[in-house]
Amino acid sequence: MASFTEWIVGWVDWFVTWTFWDSYTGQGTIIVAQVLAVLAPLLLAVAYLTYAERKVIGAMQLRKGPNVVGWFGLLQPIADAAKLLFKETILPAGANRVIFVAAPMVTFILAMIGWAVVPFGEGLVVSDLNVGILYLFAISSLGVYGVIMSGWASNSKYPFLGALRSAAQMVSYEVSMGFVIITVLICVGSLNLTDIVLAQKKVWFAVPLLPMFVIFFISTLAETNRSPFDLPEGESEIVAGFFLEYSSMTFALFFLGEYASMLLMGAMTSILFLGGWLPPFDIAPFNWIPGPIWFFGKIAACMFVFLWVRATMPRYRYDQLMRLGWKVFLPFSLLWVVLTAGFLFAFDLVPNG
């Protein structure tokens, strides 16, 4: 038995110190493995987020939700995926083919590449960028292109209206999101996501920056086109909005991309305000649980509020949406940036990171 253990240890040792890992191919293999380790669970999480959405909303409306396919309906997302795969892809006659097909890909890819900088634990990150939070902000602001391109390329009225609404909405709410991020950054003194989480060791930023947390959360709802800001889809007015003409896999890509970007926004909220992978208190029962579990739990909590909001709120009217973005959130977040900066300066708390 001892020789067997030695044999295993020897192989593991050889495997870890293998010179292949230093070559270009080896480095490439490691990166691909890391990317797969993030994306495979992510896609599974997206599938079961749709299931969770239907179950949660079902429970809130005193229904059962999916309960036929598999135990408690657990295989429902798989059945849905299979159904979408085997449907026919329809390209409308008047559509601009290349952009029409490229748009869902853009949505999906953007939702995936944002996860490259998300730290799941200390050092558990694919790429520890110096400007991680700016990268996330850039990726989330690009999400609008999938919507605009699909709306325009469909060559149809309702998708076009949806695309225009989405463009105006996302650009508006990005501004206040930017100010919220700036507020967090002046409290941290670094753009690195790991530093942002570590700066919350004493207290999560959700406590001292509570109003900014609320604004950020509402802005993420608008940024992901979720209810009550789902005007780009607005099924009661413009049918399904920008993805009206899509079917089969192209539709599935939109769906996956949208839910993956919801998860990304949940991750961003947890990193900026809820202490990322840190436990609420650094004492015994809490710090037994490993960091990534805390992080997933926080994302799940954010997602639950997303679903809760969808089951509760009626959709905003368009002018009210614009008013909220430009006349309420923007001045308030700007004021709060000045207040925070002034407070940190007056009490000599400015971080030097």
């Binding site: 110096n130 902000f137 690009l142 605009i148 391109m149 225009l164 753009l191």
Partner: protein, 204 residues
């Protein structure tokens, strides 16, 4: 190093190629999309040079906001492409002249750089080497300390431009019913509901 060189040539080639496509594609929406591709490759080049802050700001500001509005406008325009192409020969001399001037200026810049490599360092503020300071911090140190007045002046110019655009487009129309949120929320039950005891057989 080989990978970096490959990435550089890839980014540079795609940037130039999409720049050509911006001015040569027939559909203006395609032009804007190629412009966005060019911005992306510019950001890639910035990352290769180690200026990751500038790269991200380029993507956030130009791709995430400016190009969206640009695309917005171009999609809404009702352009007759054939008519638009008509003036091509007419504008060719002016466009060519501007291009030539730009080319000459670029040659001067590169020429000065080759002829006197130290000239740039004399005029510029010393910036800490990238090994010691992140470029976000280095940039902030220069912009917000040594060049604060110029930076603020640039901001004011933009503010004036914004005010000008608003003045040009703002118009007051008569008879527009606006929502008064405070009025809606401040409404009391007594203001809006009145109970009347209506006698049988007669109206209110």
């Amino acid at each position: 190093m080989i990978l970096q060189a490959l990435a550089f040539y890839l980014f540079a080639f795609v940037a130039v190629a999409s720049g050509v496509m911006v001015i040569s594609s027939r559909n203006p929406v395609h032009s804007v999309l190629f412009l966005i591709l060019a911005f992306f490759n510019g950001a890639g080049l910035f990352v290769l040079m180690g200026a990751e802050f500038l790269a991200m700001i380029l993507v956030v500001v130009y791709v995430g906001a400016v190009a969206v509005l640009f695309l917005f406008v171009v999609m809404m325009l009702d352009i007759n492409y054939v008519e638009m192409r008509k003036g091509f020969l007419q504008y060719l001399p002016v466009g060519g002249l501007i291009g030539l001037i730009l080319l000459v200026e670029l040659t001067f810049v590169v020429g000065a750089w080759v002829a006197a490599p130290a000239a740039g360092t004399v005029a510029s503020i010393p910036i800490a080497p990238p090994e010691q300071v992140h470029n976000t911090r280095a940039l902030g140190n220069v912009i917000y300390t040594d060049y604060i007045y110029l930076f603020q002046a640039a901001g004011l110019v933009l503010l004036v431009a914004m005010v000008g655009a608003i003045v040009l487009t703002l118009r007051q129309r008569e008879g527009v019913r606006r929502q008064s949120i405070a009025g809606q929320i401040g409404r009391k039950r007594a203001d809006s509901i009145e109970l009347k005891d209506v006698p049988r057989g007669s109206g209110v």
